[in-house]
């Protein structure tokens, strides 16, 4: 009887020990937490026509021309960038991430509802900058765009580029 019991205990011990260690090694430690909330923005005006340009000039919209309808239920960080590093249409323009115009090279700046020249943000292709930091939930905001025209044009075909506003959970 004692031998039988010992055999059973040994078998149980062999079962118990691997179960515990396997669970600890594989899945026990990784934690995943999500901050509840909804991220939601849309833009009312989607286009602004800068009109006819002269070389080495700037043209801008009002700094509240584009309104972001922000229905996010949490605080968000919002960046502004362009989706390509060139402007399309005829002889392509390069997009300057330093907003330094050159021959067939243009730049863009944005301003969040203020005055041009105060708090402007360069609209970049690489590593876009924040335009609306810690934006309060359910609070709309506006911005404008300012174009820095190239110092010389390869042609007079209309150019375009897509500006992207990205909203994400604030940190």
């Amino acid at each position: 009887m004692r031998k039988t019991l010992l055999a059973i205990l040994l078998a149980l011990a062999l079962v118990v020990i691997p179960v515990g260690s396997a669970l600890a090694a594989n899945t026990a430690d990784v934690t995943v937490y999500a901050t509840p909330g909804f991220i939601s923005i849309t833009v009312d005006n989607t286009t602004y026509d800068f009109g006819a340009l002269l070389e080495s000039t700037t043209k801008e919209s009002a700094t509240n021309y584009f309104t972001i309808d922000n229905t996010s239920t949490v605080i968000t960080d919002n960046t502004i960038g362009v989706t390509t590093n060139t402007w399309s249409g005829g002889v392509i323009w390069a997009h300057s991430d330093t907003c330094t115009p050159a021959a067939n090279t243009a730049g863009l700046k944005a301003n969040k509802g203020g005055t041009w020249g105060g708090g402007d943000v360069i609209v970049k292709f690489s590593s876009p900058d924040i335009i609306a930091n810690d934006q309060a939930a359910n609070t709309d905001w506006s911005f404008g765009l300012k174009l820095y025209a190239p110092t010389s044009f390869g042609d007079y075909v209309q150019k375009s580029i897509v500006v992207r506003i990205t909203a994400t959970g604030a940190v």
């Binding site: 205990l9 229905t71 992207r164 990205t166």
Partner: protein, 162 residues
């Protein structure tokens, strides 16, 4: 015989004690009614802790199409435009560690449809990463037109085990 039964009971208790507790089931928050007509994602931020090479973490990203017509969405991994304090941009290899589970791409949502897309990050054994790193899952309605478009992103903050 009684002893044997007692031993089996004790062993059963031991086995159940060794099993890891199931993660708490957290009910996803319900969107407020005013978001029905809006396009949204949830959550906006996911934090992974105690991550290590060979581990996997996952969380569903919920996407809602607030339009009155179907819309196609892109769901992509991307480097963050900015990182949270203490975090750095994910290593280049991380884009191969992230799985975006879309059953039948492209992702097209009917009007007012809400759908979960499972996002998983699987770090290969032997791979290296900074102690705290960040990547984004970007969601964009690709039917948008015009000069200014919007994108919604979920921030993933990963902290490696010490």
């Amino acid at each position: 015989m009684k002893k044997l039964i007692w031993l089996l009971v004790v062993a059963g208790l031991l086995l159940s004690a060794c099993a890891q507790p199931s993660p708490p089931v957290v009910e996803a928050p319900k969107p407020p009614p005013e978001l029905y007509d809006k396009t949204w994602i949830s959550p906006g931020k996911v934090e992974v802790g105690n991550f290590y090479p060979g581990a996997r973490a996952e969380y569903p990203l919920t996407i809602h199409n607030g339009k009155d017509e179907p819309a196609q969405f892109s769901v992509t991994y991307r480097q963050p435009d900015n990182s949270a304090e203490g975090y750095v941009t994910a290593p280049d290899a991380a884009q191969d560690w992230v799985i975006i589970a879309i059953d039948e791409p492209p992702l097209v949502l009917a009007a007012k449809e809400t759908r979960d897309v499972l996002i998983a990050v699987e770090m290969p054994k032997g791979a290296k990463a900074p102690s705290k790193w960040e990547f984004w899952i970007a969601v964009k309605d690709v039917t948008q037109t015009g000069m200014v478009q919007t994108e919604l992103a979920c921030r993933w903050l990963v902290t490696m085990r010490e």
